[in-house]
Amino acid sequence: MKDNEKRFTLPMLEAPRTMRIRFQKTGNLQYISHLDLQRTFSRILVRAGLPLWYTKGFNPHIKMVFGMPLPVGSESECEMLDVRIEREMSAEEMMERLNAEVTDELRVLAVYPAERKFAEVAFAEYDYTIRTERADEALAEKISDTLQAPLTVLRRTKSGEKETDIQPMIRSAAVTLDGDAIRIHAVLSAGEGNYLNPELLITALRAKTGILSSDLTKESYRILRRRVLLADGVTEFH
């Protein structure tokens, strides 16, 4: 039997405390949309029996604030979610309780009181793995060159589709050949109002180099978000 009722016995905090949950979203979970993830997490938080703070009023609900969006089809090791608790529970216990309620693909990596604001995020670091039978030095070079030059893609914005050059939003991109795979280690803009969807890089490469446009069983790609960074492009955001 679970002790989900234990939270009612914990000492009240003077004011609700915002705790940050860092988790991964890998494997199958890459196909879960943001909305579905929100719903999933609200249930995980309940199952874990955390002493959550509820809004007052007619329709009490918990407050969840996620960090930057992650497109469906991309994986991540640095997703963040802020929740508020109203009673004392240690970060270690929270983490332990959360990890009992998730599958490994959604494992919680850290829990701590939130200090920095999500608005301080400026960049994100990604690893791209592109598997294709055509992988060779020449293709790696071509991709590398493509990423240095102006790179226009059709971007969906609030006011319809728009041609944009995404190159200025690529802070750095290192391309290497690794067997039958091309790897790109890229740092992309990720600040509010200046967020580059990592999938757009693939879209651009597909248009300019012809990769990933044939049989998807022979060619595939994986995007993994590794870290989020502050404005200096080096310091990790926590």
């Binding site: 039997m1 679970k2 989900n4 009612f8 494997g27 199958n28 979970l29 196909y31 879960i32 949309s33 579905d36 993830l37 719903r39 999933t40 609200s42 249930r43 995980i44 938080l45 309940v46 199952r47 509820y54 009490p60 609900h61 469906v72 089809g73 309620e101 998730v102 599958t103 693909e105 998807l216 069983t217 595939s220």
Partner: protein, 624 residues
């Protein structure tokens, strides 16, 4: 997961339908189990994951350490396209293994319009459609659910059917399979025969011969062996408190249609509406005790984190312990911010203070199903509500701040006249009128009454099973007539597609001759006929014509009272005599009291049952 499947996930709509990996999904080592069961739901993931029956049965099978039961859903059309391109066969959700490698493949048949999807899935699995063409080591294909009560239109495609409640029955069936394999005496036919002979509720169509009269009606149904039952009696769980109930849930990542805790409070229905199949085939009523329900609810909540609990049953107000149950639930649900919903609650029957604490009461609309527009016709169908009940419910709803009322009716009920149809319009207007008569109605808003009208479908195992469905022309005329009669601008009118209802009637009352039509449909790629966008009436007519099936023979013909009905092979517990009596009373517009007021001797009590209103009966030779 199969790499071919994962390779296409980035290029299909809603990949969350296929990716699996849900919290609570049951993963076993396939080399350590003795039987693999693929439990298929012939519709999309979102719909299948909302199905309580599937959750219960998969759970019951997985309780057995020897059995691994996985789920199978029907991939959406874009995924089907990819499967054809890349030669990916239908797979099981948990392991990604092809369904054709399983020992047993079960389909739940919840509605007739899913039949084409079932066959499409067999094709996707690369299994022969017809049972007699399956090889010795192909999976055994078994069907169950409400439509299995007349399995005949699907008889050629299924090795067998499980009739009734499957919690124990499917486990027993699978265990027999394991035992025969272990003892080295398994053959496909041998197993099916033994299952039919020894397990209650197992119907093997190939072991029965059906012959026909010249006019197309059935002349005889004959069993081929003495050791199998002449009629297959449905199985039930006698004591619902002892029924398997999942204490953990598989949590879908993408939103299921019903994404909440579904707590089954009791089975069956005391009411006996004469058009309603569910009210007859799930007899007798068997209740669970409130203590157990409260414990199960708490456990499910702790293990799921769902924010809503819905009490499930055909008519929740009829649960004898509704008040104690609600009270004990509210003791902890309030504190945990969980909302309770009681669909189909009759407002007049419930304590006001409790009512205010229940979520469904707080929603913005009231739904009510008078089914017919006049008291006379409501008496014919034994729908025990009167106009005063409706007005009372409406008044309470308006006082509680609601402005929307949704009313459900049926067109084409036996004995229906233009007066009855006009009565629908009148009743709706009266509800509007009632709004303006309610002194403390919501201020400054106007009411909206929606009238939703479906078409009567004669269903097997109901007092109306012999009735003719109105022709399409008659239904169209009636729908038009009602449209003219609804003049109140506060009343919105919707009606069902009569074409779908007609095909549904053909399939519901069909015999084995329908198999040919369904086979042609399957070969032409029919799938998802339960979805409006895929249902094509003209194609159905063409299929019927080519299979030499006259749809009017099944849908629009009055079946003879002495005629052998296709579903006579099944014994649902309720006797034909009772249905005949009820039919006569219907024509006399005489009502029948509900089971709690007085037993009407329908026969279902001989199946036994605990916490039931039925008088005790001896169970006869099947006991024990």
């Amino acid at each position: 997961m199969n790499t071919k499947i994962s390779s296409v996930l980035k290029s299909v709509e809603k990949p969350g339908r296929y990716c699996g990996g849900e919290y609570g999904a049951i993963i076993k080592n396939k080399d350590e189990v003795k039987a693999r069961f693929a439990f298929a739901f012939p519709d999309t993931y979102e719909i299948g994951m909302s199905n309580l029956g599937m959750r219960i049965l998969c759970g019951a099978l997985n309780e057995q350490p020897d059995i691994w039961c996985e789920r199978v859903f029907c991939p959406w059309v874009d995924m089907q396209q990819k499967m054809r391109e890349l030669d990916i066969p239908l797979w099981a959700h948990e392991s990604g293994d092809p369904v054709s490698e399983f020992d047993i493949l079960g389909f739940t048949l919840g509605y007739e319009m899913c039949y084409t999807t079932v066959l499409a899935m067999l094709k996707m699995a690369k299994l022969p459609l017809r049972a007699d063409e399956r090889a010795e080591d192909d999976p055994i294909v078994i069907g169950g659910g409400a439509c299995a009560y007349n399995p005949e239109p699907m008889a050629d495609f299924f090795d067998c059917f499980s009739i009734g409640e499957g919690e124990d029955n499917l486990v027993e069936f699978t265990k027999l399979y394991i035992r025969m394999k272990e003892e080295g005496r398994y053959t496909r036919q041998g197993f099916l025969h033994e299952a039919a002979a020894t397990i209650r509720g197992i119907y093997v169509p190939s072991l029965y011969d059906v012959s026909y009269n010249e006019d197309g009606t059935i002349s005889a149904i004959a069993r081929r062996f003495e050791d199998i039952p002449e009629r297959v009696e449905k199985c039930i769980i006698a004591d619902m408190d002892k029924a398997y109930y999942p204490d953990k849930l598989v949590m879908p990542y993408i939103e299921a249609v019903h994404d909440r805790i579904m707590l089954e409070v009791y089975r069956g229905c005391i009411r006996g509406c004469r058009f309603c199949q569910a009210g007859m085939i799930y007899r007798p009523v068997r209740e669970k005790t409130p203590d157990l329900l409260n414990k199960q609810a708490r456990c499910l909540y702790d293990n799921s984190g769902y924010e809503e609990i819905s009490l499930m049953s055909l008519s929740i107000s009829d649960y004898t312990e509704l008040e104690p149950l609600t009270r004990s639930l509210l003791e902890w649900t309030d504190r945990n911010m969980v909302s309770l919903s009681l669909p189909s609650l009759r407002v007049d029957s419930f304590n006001k203070e409790l009512m205010e604490r229940i979520a469904s009461v707080r929603t913005s609309s009231l739904t009510f199903a008078p089914e017919a527009g006049t008291q006379r016709l409501r008496d014919v169908i034994n729908k025990n509500v009167c106009e005063e009940d409706l007005m009372h419910a409406a008044r309470v709803a308006f006082e509680g701040g609601k402005t929307n009322v949704k009313l459900y009716f049926m067109n084409g009920l036996p004995t229906e006249t233009s007066e009855d149809i006009e009565g629908i319009a009148t009743l709706a207007s009266r509800v509007v009128h009632e709004y303006y008569q309610t002194p403390n109605r919501p201020k400054g808003r106007s009411p909206q009454v929606t009238v939703s009208v479906s078409c009567f479908i004669p269903k097997p195992f109901t007092p109306f099973q012999w009735e003719a469905q109105d022709t399409m022309e008659m239904l169209a005329e009636k729908q038009e007539f009602l449209r003219e009669k609804i003049t109140d601008r506060k009343v919105r009118y919707q009606h069902h597609n009569a074409k779908v209802s007609r095909v549904e009637a053909v399939l519901a009352r069909g015999n084995r001759k329908l198999c040919k039509a369904l086979e042609i449909a399957a070969n032409e790629g029919f799938c998802f006929d339960a979805w409006d966008e895929f249902f094509d009436y003209d194609k159905w007519l063409s299929v019927f014509a080519r299979a030499d099936v006259d749809p009017a023979f099944f849908a629009n013909r009055q079946f003879g009272l002495d005629e052998i009905l296709p579903w006579d092979i099944i014994d649902c517990g309720v006797t034909k005599e009772f249905f005949k009596r009820e039919r006569e009373k219907a024509y006399a517009a005489a009502t029948t009291p509900n089971c709690r007021e007085q037993c009407s001797g329908c026969g279902a009590n001989r199946l036994g049952g605990e916490r039931t209103p039925c008088p005790k009966a001896c169970r006869g030779q099947h006991e024990g």
